[in-house]
Symmetry: C2
Subunit: 449 residues, 2 copies
């Protein structure tokens, strides 16, 4: 009898694993189980559907169950929720939601791609229908219904991470009367250093978002978000408090969890249980700079780790070296990007730190369309090795983070970055790329050798 | 008495050296000699002034002699042409063009930043006033006068390198009746592989340029460019045949020349003569991938090598490791970029070669504004090490070349590029960056280990 691979969860990390396992091994039986109505969609695109930038919610769907069946012979079962894993019996217990019954499916190999869930703190009123997270297409659909109507005039976004800020912008774009962003911290976007984050705050305010920092949410009642600074009227509250990995199923089966409750995996995406792999938002991942396991719920990581898991599940050889924590978004006309460790993270990881922060332009200064860009680099104060970088700017400034991400990964020093042969032409960049100007500035703080 | 540094040539490599020498050493007397009317300007910007994209020719001027004197105590003498160097007597012979007399200036240290000159082959009629190169602000000024009038209806661009293509676009933008591009080779942009270059030809033709390949120019007469395929009517012919380093002064003084007649320098920008340095378009430079000295006349290289020369001239310690041959331009609505070695160059340098060429999009496929991008990577067929990359695309596709330039410099393999933690967000990139998709494709041709 053919061996069977069961995959729990069918978004990026699940479906990528399934198709890569199929590529390795034609004879494997592959069953994928999905509790929702959709497989393989771009959750990162939800804010842009809500804002109206992307026309149709269906545009976010990458693959349909029919395609997966036809092209890869993968048995895709939607509305099937896995409720338990029995490692000894090699069985998963599945609730078939439409038939309202529980079935058992045996597996030889198991892949966990259970994803993550938006944080919903245990606050009074948080389960009210006007308090929404942003993750599934069901969330998108609900938010979309509401932006069209007249009833959503005051929107409160709780939490200043990527999704929170993208949603704040989306509701401004949709003509909400008032959009308020609440953050308990004294800066939004805590993956940036405060001196970079303040550029984001300024961009939000210029765009019309009422940004209230150091404001803690205490509950939701009577059409208002209750905060430590008093109530804020709201027709709709959107939660952007980050996500938590869905590790409970694994934990209950006796599989080891790691940082932040994520399923602990090795470089081959193997969990602590024989024949069981995990990838994507539910799993932890190695950070190449800090040398620590971290939890980073991003589509890029899910795709890469899903591919590695799938190759190994199919009998191939693959390993994932790790991430450097690159992230990017475009909010209120500025692009914001980061990679590696920020100043606080670098200090926390034990590095002696120097930084360089500069303002430059995205094109030759005289070229029409040239826009400001601020770049900050963080480096090891002894060796000069680049540890991380952050940037804020418009005019497609953001992709320059990839230069820094590559340099961080390769372990380049500030001096090596200054010497890099980066592209220059007046419509695209200044003769010294902004990332090089920042590196040059940081170099001044290095000890002279 | 103070030591004196004489700098010949005051564009990027000259002025950068002068200011960096000043930074190192306050007591140095610095005299810079410039035969033209201008110092420090962006020749790369000339096509954009001619096209009208940049309003004013003066926008290209980076620094004035007055600024250099006031800010850096540099004695700037324009319209002073150096006619000879006496290394034994430590003197330069200078023609002061306005006074019509020759003077001698002693030096302790000498820096050569004599630049390069557009190639003007010895063809009948090439000295006619309607046949122009594109390099100095005098050229820019002449071309600009002519685009305004009615007399320039038919423009012929000779040579399909960067400058030639930029000028072809510029005259289309200015409403020329007909713009013809002649190239003796069977592709424009010979720094690209033919399969990438054909995308450039297609973009030129879409934009309205009559591209004639394999057509050799034989002369210029009676308002026509005479070619192997017959005469082509022309009110103006623009030469884009590349440049030759200005090495004659150095050669006559007994200084060693290297590849393509460029002044040979070491990592510290020292020439073969004691106390004499050179940098920029007149000098050769080390190519980090081929391991050979090359001649690359680009502003980025001029600035970097000028900085290294200046630091050393001022008594500091600096060295320049080399280039990887990165270049970029935007022509007829597409951006074209390359780095490292192309397929033919890699083979010529003795590498066993694999390539990967893919089409992808600049943003998430569903995101408005997403545009096609074609990426090709060239790698060592044995080790998988990235040797070079080329790309053609719109929507700010070009800057992705910096990711590849950094990867080439760091010696990353295709597998390491696929694993890079590059930035993803729907408005800026697909979840797998196009450069990673290309690397993945090339990997398929590597031997399985």
């Amino acid at each position: 009898m053919a061996e069977r691979l069961v995959v729990i969860g069918t978004n990026a990390a699940g479906m990528t694993a399934a198709t890569n396992a199929r590529r390795q091994r034609a004879d494997l039986e592959i069953v994928t189980l999905e509790k929702s109505d959709w497989i393989s969609y771009s959750n990162c695109g939800i804010p842009y559907v809500v804002s109206g930038t992307v026309d149709d919610i269906d545009d976010l769907v990458v693959r349909t169950p029919q395609q997966q069946r036809a092209e890869h012979r993968i048995d895709v079962r939607i509305r099937h929720e896995v409720t338990g894993i029995d490692l000894d019996a090699r069985l998963v217990e599945v609730r078939a939601l439409d038939q309202d019954r529980t079935i058992k499916i045996g597996f030889d190999l198991l892949h966990l791609a259970t994803g993550a869930t938006p944080v919903r703190p245990d606050l009074p009123g948080i389960d009210a229908p006007w308090v929404r997270g942003v993750q599934t297409l069901a969330d998108a659909s609900h938010l979309l219904e509401r932006v069209g109507g007249d009833d959503v005039r005051d929107v409160v976004v709780v939490g200043g991470g990527y999704i929170g800020l993208e949603m704040a912008e989306a509701f401004i774009d949709r003509g909400a009367r008032k959009v308020t962003l609440l953050d308990a911290a004294d800066q939004p976007m805590r993956t940036l250093d405060p001196d970079m984050s303040e550029l984001v705050t300024a961009a939000l305010r210029r765009y019309g978002v009422d940004v209230r920092l150091g404001t803690e949410v205490q509950g939701f009642e009577d059409g208002a978000v209750v905060t430590t600074d008093g109530p804020v009227r709201a027709d709709l509250a959107v939660l952007g408090l980050g996500v938590r990995p869905n590790g409970t199923l694994a934990e209950e089966a006796g599989i080891e969890l790691g940082v932040a409750g994520a399923i602990h995996v090795d470089r081959r995406q193997r969990t602590s249980a024989e024949g069981v792999y995990a990838a994507g938002d539910c799993a932890d991942v190695f950070h190449l700079v800090s040398g620590r396991q971290v939890h980073i719920a991003l589509g890029t990581v899910a795709n890469k780790t899903g591919r590695v898991a799938g190759t190994n599940l199919g009998g191939g050889q693959a390993s994932f070296p790790g991430v450097v924590g690159t992230a990017i978004t475009r909010i209120c006309e500025v692009e914001i990007a980061r990679t590696g460790l920020n100043e606080a993270e670098a200090e926390d990881a034990g590095f002696p730190v120097v930084t360089g922060r500069i303002e430059s332009t995205t094109r030759a200064g005289y070229f029409p369309g040239s826009a400001p860009i601020t770049v900050k680099v963080v480096a090891d104060a002894v060796t000069g090795r680049l540890l991380g970088g952050q940037l804020v700017g418009s005019d497609r400034a953001g992709l320059r983070i990839d230069t820094l991400a590559t340099a961080v990964t390769a372990g380049l020093t500030l001096a090596e970055i200054v010497d890099l042969d980066l592209a220059y032409a007046p419509p695209m960049s200044p003769v010294w790329d902004p990332v090089q100007v920042a590196a040059r500035k940081a170099m001044k703080h290095l000890p002279r050798t």
